[in-house]
Amino acid sequence: MELLVASAIGVLTASGVYLVLRGRSFPVVLGLALLSYAVNLFLFASGRLAVDLPPVIRAAGSYTDPLPQALVLTAIVISFGMTAVTVAMAVRSFLESGDDGVGAAGAADEEDAGRR
């Protein structure tokens, strides 16, 4: 299971970084979302991976660390709000300038030209 979680975090981060480096705002927003998924998984794993254990301290029996779960919940809420803000800013940037590039004006068109 460690391998599965670790590789999931790695793949998510790598894809996120790749998308964030794109020139258009839509992939960038997707990339940020993937990065936030990766970091949520990572935070969750920082309390060690455990199966079938409750996040409640019990006198008898073992338990899993509840704090990372609380941290992840907070991080999810914040990243959700931040994604909404980014989408709103990207849409407004597109409406005001007429192209959805993230870099300097016209950079997105050049990228298109390079792809053709």
Partner: protein, 507 residues
């Protein structure tokens, strides 16, 4: 008195919600409430400074949950100082904006208060996850303020700013996860206790966590090579908002100081001062690049943005020495450079307003209205920013030079600081002469009058400069406080006892 520590967070939060609901229609009401809130914040912050100056570290446990399980706020000398700086700058910027800036978009005052809440929270919190949360609050408010007034260029720069900071926030969470995974705590005081006890096998993880945190704070502080977002953001943000942002980079510097002295100080053994080898060269590069940027800039706002980058470099050179004397000098310089940068950005706004065709482009244009007055204000602020005598910038740089006397790379620091100061002086002198002296010949009678009687902005700039002058005149007393603050930072046992000891809590 007991609940005073929570007020800098609670007051702007309540006022912001109130403004979002009640202040939408009535701008005058919104201005009054917002200004009153900033004034009260300043008083609270001064009260906290007075309280903190006796050397006792006061803690406030939210909901009376004891640390390290509950959330804790900590007021020491450094935190109280930063709160006062923020509140003072905010009051001046609000006065400036009451002249009409706040009418150019919606919810200006509500966003402004949320920004203050985030800033104050970041300075007060004693917990790394809370630091993350308050960073997010101040960032999300700054996104709104950054695009206040709209415009294609501004929104595009705003989008870049948002993306850069979101990547930074993600890295912050990774760092928090690493630290928690190794030490099992995120409370700063508790972390300071746990770090020396971490087995050597886990040092690699701990080290990467701490350096990731440094990376994030350096991003906020705009340290080279992570400075690329700053000039674009500050130059495209509304000038008064950029004036408030002058304190944003200092949050990063504050966090670096707090993290290094508390958790990775002398007590950390093998890991002690692990940020220094990275911080010192980066700070020196930052200073060089910032001041060259001052020379190269084509717009006044861009020039001041690069001056801010340069001042961060100066500040962090002193911080990277990690001696009490250097930290005290850094704090002295931090306050004065923030005040000077704030005043300069407000001057940019007034200049741009009077040159509708050129804005703040550094090119001769028709003679501007009140050129003598604005020119003098610019001169005073520029003297403070570049570090010429007799203002606080000079005293600050002198203190930093003095503090580096025993540093191994002393000759490098000295020559760099002095050369870059010269570059900055040349840059500012050129900008001032282009804007305020040249151009009068061609169109004597074409002076553009400002749209409104600009008394409030002048008062705001005057206040910031007066604060700078007071900082110079009171340097002796101020340094007494700052030295004590630095010594307090270098004795983390006091902080740890205050947070975790039996006498903690909010009695």
């Amino acid at each position: 008195m007991t609940h005073l520590a929570i007020l800098p967070i609670l007051l702007p939060a309540i006022v912001a919600a109130l403004l979002a609901l009640a202040g939408r229609r009535d701008l005058v009401l919104a201005r009054t409430i917002s200004l009153a809130s900033a004034a009260v914040l300043l008083l609270v912050a001064i009260a906290l400074v007075v309280g903190a100056s006796d050397g006792m570290i006061r803690t406030y446990a939210l909901g009376d949950w004891p640390a390290p399980f509950g959330i804790v706020l900590v007021v020491d000398r450094l935190a109280a100082l930063m709160l006062t700086l923020t509140a003072g700058l905010a009051l001046a910027v609000l006065l400036h904006c009451a002249n009409g800036w706040d009418a150019r978009g919606r919810h200006f005052h509500a966003l402004f208060q949320f920004q203050l809440m985030g800033l104050n929270g970041a300075f007060l919190t004693g917990d790394f996850f809370n630091l993350f949360v308050f960073f997010e609050i101040l960032l999300i408010a700054s996104y709104g303020l950054m695009v206040h007034g709209g415009g294609a260029e501004r929104v595009r720069a705003g989008l870049q700013y948002v993306v850069v900071n979101l990547v930074g926030s993600t890295l912050f969470l990774f760092a928090v996860g690493l630290l928690y995974g190794v030490t099992g705590t995120l409370n700063m005081a508790d972390l300071a206790l746990k770090v020396p006890a971490v087995p050597p096998a886990d040092h690699g993880v701990l080290r990467s966590g701490a350096l990731l945190l440094l990376f994030v704070f350096a991003l906020k502080a705009a340290l080279v090579p992570l400075h690329l977002w700053l000039p674009g953001t500050y130059a495209n943000a509304p000038a008064p908002v950029a004036a408030l942002f002058a304190v944003l980079t200092k949050v990063g510097a504050y966090a670096i100081v707090r993290l290094s002295t508390l958790a990775f100080g002398d007590a950390a053994g093998e890991l002690a001062w692990l940020v220094t080898p990275w911080l010192m060269p980066a700070a020196m590069l930052t200073l060089t690049l910032g001041m060259f940027g001052v020379l190269a800039a084509r717009r006044l706002a861009g020039m001041i943005s690069f001056a801010v980058v340069g001042s961060v470099g100066t500040l962090l050179i002193a911080v990277a020495l990690f001696t009490p004397q250097a930290i005290a000098a850094a704090l002295y310089y931090l306050v004065q450079s923030t005040l000077a940068a704030g005043a300069l950005f407000l001057v940019v706004d007034l200049v741009g307003e009077r040159r509708p065709a050129l804005g703040d482009l550094l090119a001769p244009g028709p003679r501007i209205a009140q050129a003598a007055l604005l020119g003098s204000l610019f001169l005073v602020a520029a003297i403070a920013m570049t570090g010429l005598p007799p203002l606080a910038g000079f005293v600050g740089k002198l203190l930093i030079l003095d503090a580096t006397r025993d540093a191994f790379n002393r000759s490098w620091i000295w020559s760099l600081l002095l050369t870059t100061s010269l570059l900055a002086i040349v840059g500012f002198a050129r900008a001032g002469s282009v804007l305020f002296w040249k151009g009068g010949e061609s169109a004597q009678n074409a002076a553009v009058q400002p749209a409104r009687a600009a008394v409030l902005p002048l008062i705001a700039i005057g206040l910031l400069l007066a604060a700078n002058i007071a900082w110079t005149l009171g340097a002796g007393q101020v340094l007494g406080y700052l030295d004590a603050a630095a010594i307090q930072l270098f004795a983390p046992a006091g902080y740890i006892d205050a947070v975790l000891g039996a006498e903690g809590g909010n009695e």
